[in-house]
Structures are given as C-alpha cells and as structure tokens.
C-alpha cells in the first residue's frame, strides 16, 4: 500500500515506518490486555503528541529501507470507534492545524501519532519503570500529593 492507496481509502491511520516495530512493542508492553492493543497504543501516542504539540508531518517521516509505514487502522471508523470519539471536532477545537492546512484528518492524526511515538521512545515510556517521568510531563494525570 502506498500513500495514494491510503488517500483513496479515506481513512487509514498510520505512523511513520520509523516506528513500525516500536509501535508493536509499545502495544505489547503497555496494552497487552486490550483487544486492539496497537490502536490503543496509537491513541496513546496521539494524545501525547497533542498534549506536547508534537506533530510530525508525513513529509518529514523517515522511511528506513524495506520498511513500510505501520498501519494502525484500515478505516478511520476503526480508530474512532465508529464515531464514538469525534476526532474532527477535537482537532478543530484544539486548533491542531493551521487555517491554511488542508491535511486530511486521518493524516493529521497519523502525524500526531508519529510525534507522540517519538516522545515515547525518547522518554522510554515503553519501560514501565520509567513511568514516574510521566508525573513531570503530565502532572494532571496524577493527584496532587
């Protein structure tokens, strides 16, 4: 599948091929009990990307040899639980793209997923030992002592 295929499908969520394997690892390490661990890992990465404003445009994605971008969900509907989560509104209201930016939503999501993946990798959040770091970067996730 290439980019064009993804466009035509109108809803494939991916992440950079650079994180293809790492995404699998995150899925296995952090979301092993979930019925769709890879998707959940991607949402997690997306949220971090959104929170930290880490958007990696597809044009900037590195593509190691012989590796494809990781497919997270073939259809957008798989990613938003068939409309349960209104990511369009979310990205709009949070102003996650500039006015002139006509990037389709699924690509936009994919770019934030990739941005979040980088953060996760750099902060070794795949290692559960390191999760106290989350306290520094995401204090609102924890009760005040």
């Amino acid at each position: 599948m290439n980019i064009n295929d993804e466009d035509r499908s109108g809803g494939i969520i991916t992440c950079s091929a650079e994180f293809s394997k790492y995404l699998d690892k995150i899925a296995e390490q952090l979301f092993q009990g979930h019925f769709a661990p890879k998707r959940e890992a991607a949402r997690f990465a997306m949220a971090i990307g959104i929170q930290k404003g880490l958007r990696e445009k597809r044009s900037e994605w590195k593509k190691p040899n012989n590796q494809k971008n990781a497919t997270i969900a073939h259809l957008y509907g798989q990613f938003d639980d068939k409309g349960r989560f209104d990511f369009e509104s979310l990205f709009d209201i949070l102003e996650l793209k500039e006015k002139d930016d006509d990037t389709p939503l699924q690509h936009l999501i994919s770019e934030y997923v990739t941005g979040g993946m980088r953060y996760i990798q750099e902060n070794e959040l795949d290692n559960l030992d390191e999760w106290t770091r989350m306290k520094d970067d995401f204090p609102h996730l924890f009760s005040e002592d």
Binding site: G33, I50, Q51, D86
Partner: protein, 689 residues
C-alpha cells in the same frame, strides 16, 4: 513280655492245687530266661505248652485241628470222652477248680495273670462247659493294682490270631512251610499280614474310608439345606468370586507398591548421602523459584499497569480539552445571554409600539394612553436604539454558530476523562522492587551453580526428580489401593449381607457344615497318607522278613554254600534261591529250616515281644539242624521255651549243650502212682534263689 513262672492247678495231667500246684520257673539268676522241658510223648509237654495259651486266651485248640483249626478242648470231662482241661482224677475226686497262673515281666513291671474255672453255684458235678464259671485277673505285682481291661491287655501283648507264630508245634512245622508255598491260601496272607501288622494298616485305611463316608453323608445333608436360596447363593458366589479377584489385584498392587517403595528407598539413600549437595540444589531451586516468582509478579504488575493505560490517552489531553471547554461554555453562555437580551428588547419594542398606538399592553397588562408628540418622539428614538441593539446582538449570537459550539462541546465532553494514574506510581514501585528481587535471585542462582559440579548436580537432580516421580507413583498406587480396599469392603459388605439373607440354612456354611468338610478333607488326606505308608510299609516289611529269614536260613543250613537267599514274593510265596539265581526245590530238612527261619523272621519283624514256645522242635529236621537251630534260638534275644521229645534231644546232651543258656531245664515224667498225672522235675537250675 518275658515269662517268669507258670503255675498249673489241676491242669490236664498236672494235678494239684495250692502248694501242690505244678510250677515252672523261668527267672534265671543272671537274667537267663530260656527253659528246656524234656518229656516223652504223652507225658504232658503239650499240656504245659497249652497252659500258657490257656492263660492268655482262655481256650485251647485240640491238637488234631492243625494250625487253622477251631476246635477247642472242653473245660471238663463229658460223655464224649474228649480230653478235658480239668484234670480227670481231680474231677473224679470232686475237685472242680482248675486254672493256670503265669507271672511275667512287661515294660519293667511284673504281672500275675490268673485264669481259672470253677463250677457254677448250684451245679453239683459239672459235665458241660457252661456249668463252669471263669475267674480271670491280671495284677501288677509292683504296685498291687489290677488291670481292668484284662483281655485287651493280653491281646495287646499278643493277639490270639498271632499266637500260632510264637507258640508252634514242631510236628506241624511243615504246615507252616506249606502255607508259604500255597499262594492261593487266603489264610497265608492273612496270617502273614497279621503278624506284620498289615491289618492294622488296612483296617486303618478302611476306618478312614468309613469315617469319610459318614462325613460325606453329613455333608450331603448340610448341602441339601445349604442349597436353599439359590439365587442369593449364585449372587453370593459371584460376589465371592469378585472378592477373590479384587483381593488378587490388591495383592498385585501391594507388590507394585513394595517395588516402588524399594526403589524409593534406594533413591532416598542416595539423596541422604547427598544431603549437602541436595541443600545446594534446593537453594538453586529456591533462587530459580524466586526468580520465576519475580517474573510472574513483574508480569502481573505489568498487566495491571497496562490495564490502567487504555483510556489514558483521553486523560492526557483532558486538561487541554477542559481549557477549550471553558471557552466554549463561555461562548455558549454569552450567546444565551444575548438571546435573552434579544427577547427582552423584543418585549420592550412591543410595549413601546402599543404605547404609540394607545393600545393596552398585552405583555404587562396595563392600559396605555396615547403619548404626546414629545413623548412619541422619545419613544421612537428609544425604539430605534433598541432595534440597533437587537441587530447587534443577533450578529454576536450566531458567531460562532451555536450548533457548531454544541457539537464541539459534546465531542470534547465525550473524549475528556478524569482518569488519574496514581496507581501506576505505586505499581511502578512494586515493579522496581520485584525487578530488584529478580536480579538478586538471578545473581544468587548464578553463584549457587558454581557450588555444585554439573555431574553431581545432574545426579542429584535426576534422583530428586526420580524421588518426586516415585512419590507421585506411590501416591497414585496408594490411591488405587485405597479404592481397591474400598471396593473390597463393599464386596465384603455385599457378601455379609447375602450370607445374612441366606442365613444358616443356605448361605454361609454353618460351622458344623464347614467342620464336616474340613474333617472330610482331613480324613481323605490321612487316608491317602495312610495308604501310601501301608504300601511302603508292606514292601519294607516284606524286604525285612526276606532279609532276616535269609540270614537265619543261611546260618542254620548245612548247605548254605549252595544257596543265595530265601525269596519272598509280593504275595509272600516263598522259595529258596540257589547260587545260580534259580529257585531250588530243597530237601524236607532244608524246608524245615526255612520254616524256622521264616517264623523267626516274622516274629522278629513283627516287633512283638513274646516268648517263642516250641513243642517237639526236632520233628521236621534232623539232629544236626535241630542242634544248630536250638543253639541259634537260645542265643537270640528272644525268650525261648522248648519242649523236646526224648528222641529229639536227649536230656543229658541237651543240658550239657544248652543248659548254660537257660534259666533251668526240666524233665516231665509220669507219676508213679497215677499214670494220668505228670511230675515236673528240675534238672539244671540257674534260677534266682
């Protein structure tokens, strides 16, 4: 038994009673026990010989009746003129008491046997035997007691049927020889078997058979009763059969268990010796286990942490969402206020319009007067201002589009999540702790590996595994055994229940029934053993008699160099076997010796201790053989009483040759005054004084 004295009272030719009774003593000073009693024909040898027999058995055969005869001498003289036992002269003199006393030694005690007859009360002159009354006593002179079962006591010493072998008449010696040659003569076998005690054995076998038949009858009766309740019986049999089967299986299980326990013993022994190594290995296991536990815990914690994470993405962006939501809510609130103001303006405008027209205000319900011109101008200005305000509000109220705002608000509320990840912190602490433990366990494990060589560890581990397996197998077998025992218990319960249903009539065999069966089996086994012993004893005795007779015959015969042996067949047919191994016809003299040899062998092999009492010993053999025979007999361990006729053994020669082997020698001679009476004269005496 050894005879010590014979005392005769009015016995045949021996008249006299009390101190005049006739006596023969056989008690030698130096243990001599033989006597030779010389006498011419008709001088009373046979009467004396018969006195012993009378004392023993109470009757005397007529001489003409032979060895198989059954004609008895009468007690008293009758019209028949037959020679009676009561001395005829005494009878004529009105003395009717007669009898014989013998003293003998048996099993270390001295006994006095007394058998006598006297006329019954009321009889003046007895002429028939039934007019006579017997008195028979046996007294132990050592302790003064009287034997109660007298005849049985005598028969135990010497059964009457066997007396012929110990008390025989030389004149009839050839009859004995003939007996051995006539295999068709049933008496031969009877006599020989009797003296060799075969009848006892044969009778024993028959007795066993009789007892067996009686028991069979009893069992049959029991079985008949026992057959009642056949259905229950069949079920009982099946239960019992299953019980046997299960008990067999239980035995096998026990064997299997023993085998496992034995193997376990070997393994335990090894591990006991390797206690230290085992401890080290146990430590290894412990560390390995700690490590494995840590891994499990880590996985468990990781799972817990990962369970907390789904949905976390919503919480991550919730603070951002909340900021936007606030703004959205402000806009919505603003738009709501603006809408409200618009409504108020509309009401105000309506009110002012009604005022201008002088109409009642429907909104506030007041009646309005038409305003003045000035007032109308002011109202119009106010209305213009209100309409401008309304228009402005309308623009502001729709920017942004309220639908847009509501949709976004809804989307954000749907996504936001107040999830707190505090639990992750404590879980992470746990995780770190377990990871530390895991590391320590790994390090300890590595260290412990160095303490035990691989080979040793392998053996210990192998035996430890074997031990565990054996315990497991033993456990399984014990469980099987327990199940089997339980099953057996159930079967036993069923059996007891069925036996209880059947009761004593047809279920469990009653004690008497079982005892009868046990007795029957026992008797059958005894009979089998008895028969086996009988056959073996018969053959053994035959061989003994043959051997003993051959020994005596070859000792006595002057032609022993021509003979090899005496042969006695299984049917007790007798033959002389010469050196060529063939049967030899032998001379009458040789056959006389054969008869002596056989009689001696039979009495020896019978095991009966009774004197050998021989009347006219030389009647069938020549002088040479007689002397040799007497020498042999008088030198044997047996007590020998011989009654030679004058021509057989001359008293002087006899005394000279044999008196030293005797307690005494006696001479019987006709009383000079009464030819019917015999005197006993002591010739040579070695008697106890």
């Amino acid at each position: 038994m050894r005879l010590l004295e014979i005392e005769m009272t009015n016995w045949q030719p021996y008249k006299g009673a009390g101190k005049n009774a006739r006596r023969i003593s056989l008690d030698g000073n130096n243990g001599e026990k033989n006597v030779i009693i010389y006498g011419q024909n008709t001088h009373g040898k046979t009467a004396l010989w018969q006195a012993i027999r009378f004392a023993m058995f109470g009757r005397v055969l007529k001489r003409i009746s032979g060895v198989n005869g059954k004609d008895w001498k009468p007690l008293v003289a009758s019209d028949t003129k037959e020679e009676p036992l009561l001395n005829v002269t005494a009878h004529e003199e009105g003395i009717y008491d007669f009898g014989v006393n013998i003293k003998f030694e048996h099993d270390g005690d001295v006994y006095e046997l007394s058998r006598s007859y006297s006329k019954k009360t009321g009889i003046s002159i007895p002429r028939r035997d039934n007019q006579m009354e017997e008195t028979f006593t046996i007294r132990n002179l050592d302790n003064g007691s009287y034997v109660q079962e007298k005849q049985k006591f005598v028969n135990d010493l010497l059964p009457e049927g066997l007396a012929r072998f110990f008390m025989f008449d030389g004149e009839r010696l050839m009859e004995y020889r003939n007996l051995f040659n006539d295999t068709k003569d049933i008496h031969l076998r009877n006599y020989i078997e009797a003296i060799l005690r075969f009848p006892v054995l044969t009778q024993g076998s028959e007795d066993f058979e009789k007892i067996g038949k009686t028991l069979k009858g009893q069992i049959s009766k029991h079985a008949s009763k026992h057959r009642k309740g056949e259905a229950a019986q069949e079920e009982l049999l099946e239960v019992e059969s299953n019980l046997d089967l299960e008990n067999d299986i239980l035995k096998d299980i026990n064997v299997e268990l023993d085998d496992y326990n034995s193997k376990l013993g070997v393994v335990n022994e090894f591990l006991k010796k390797e206690e230290e190594g085992k401890k080290l290995l146990e430590q290894q296991d412990k560390f390995r286990e700690q490590k494995e536990n840590a891994i499990i815990e880590i996985e468990s914690i990781s799972k817990k942490m990962s369970k907390a994470l789904p949905g976390a993405w919503r919480a991550i962006i919730t603070n951002k969402i909340d900021l936007r939501l606030e703004k959205l809510e402000d806009d919505i609130k603003r738009q709501k206020i603006q809408t409200q103001r618009q409504g108020e303006i509309k009401i105000e405008l309506g009110h002012l319009e009604n005022r201008l027209k002088g109409r009642d205000c429907l909104a506030c319900g007041t009646s309005l007067e038409k305003p003045s011109a000035d007032e109308e101008k002011g109202i119009l200005e106010t209305m213009a201002e209100l309409e401008i305000e309304h228009e402005k509000l309308e623009k502001a109220r729709l920017d942004p589009d309220p639908d847009y705002l509501y949709k976004r608000q809804k989307a954000l509320i749907n996504i936001r999540n107040d999830l707190k990840l505090d639990m992750l912190v404590s879980l992470e602490e746990d995780l770190l702790r377990w990871k530390t433990r895991k590391r320590e366990a790994e390090q300890n494990f590595e260290k412990s590996l160095k303490n035990v060589s691989k080979d040793r560890a392998s053996k210990i581990a192998e035996n430890t595994v074997r031990q565990r397996d054996l315990y497991k197998q033993i456990g399984a077998v014990e469980e099987r055994r327990s199940n089997k025992k339980s099953l057996i218990k159930t079967l036993e319960y069923d059996r007891d229940r069925l036996q209880s249903i059947l009761g004593s009539g047809g279920g469990k065999k009653p004690t008497v029934y079982r005892k009868a069966e046990i007795k029957r089996d026992l008797v059958q086994e005894l009979k089998n053993a008895w028969d086996a012993v009988t056959d073996s004893h018969r053959e053994s005795q035959r061989e003994n008699v043959e051997k003993e007779a051959t020994k005596v015959f070859l000792h006595l015969s002057n032609k022993s160099h021509l003979y090899k042996k005496l042969s006695i067949s299984e049917t007790f047919q007798l033959s002389i076997i010469n050196n060529k191994g063939k049967s030899d016809s032998g001379s009458p003299g040789q056959w006389g010796l054969v008869a002596y040899s056989i009689l001696d062998a039979l009495t020896t092999c019978s095991g009966i201790e009774f004197p050998l009492i021989i009347d006219t010993p030389g009647r069938s053999i020549d002088d040479h053989h007689l002397n040799k025979t007497l020498e042999y007999l008088l030198n044997s361990n047996k007590q020998v009483i011989i009654f030679p006729e004058g021509s057989e053994l001359k008293p002087d020669f006899g005394d000279k040759e044999f008196s030293h082997l005797c307690a005494a020698t006696y001479q019987l001679s006709q009383n000079k005054e009464d030819a019917n009476m015999t005197d006993i004269i002591l010739r040579k005496s070695n008697l106890r004084s």
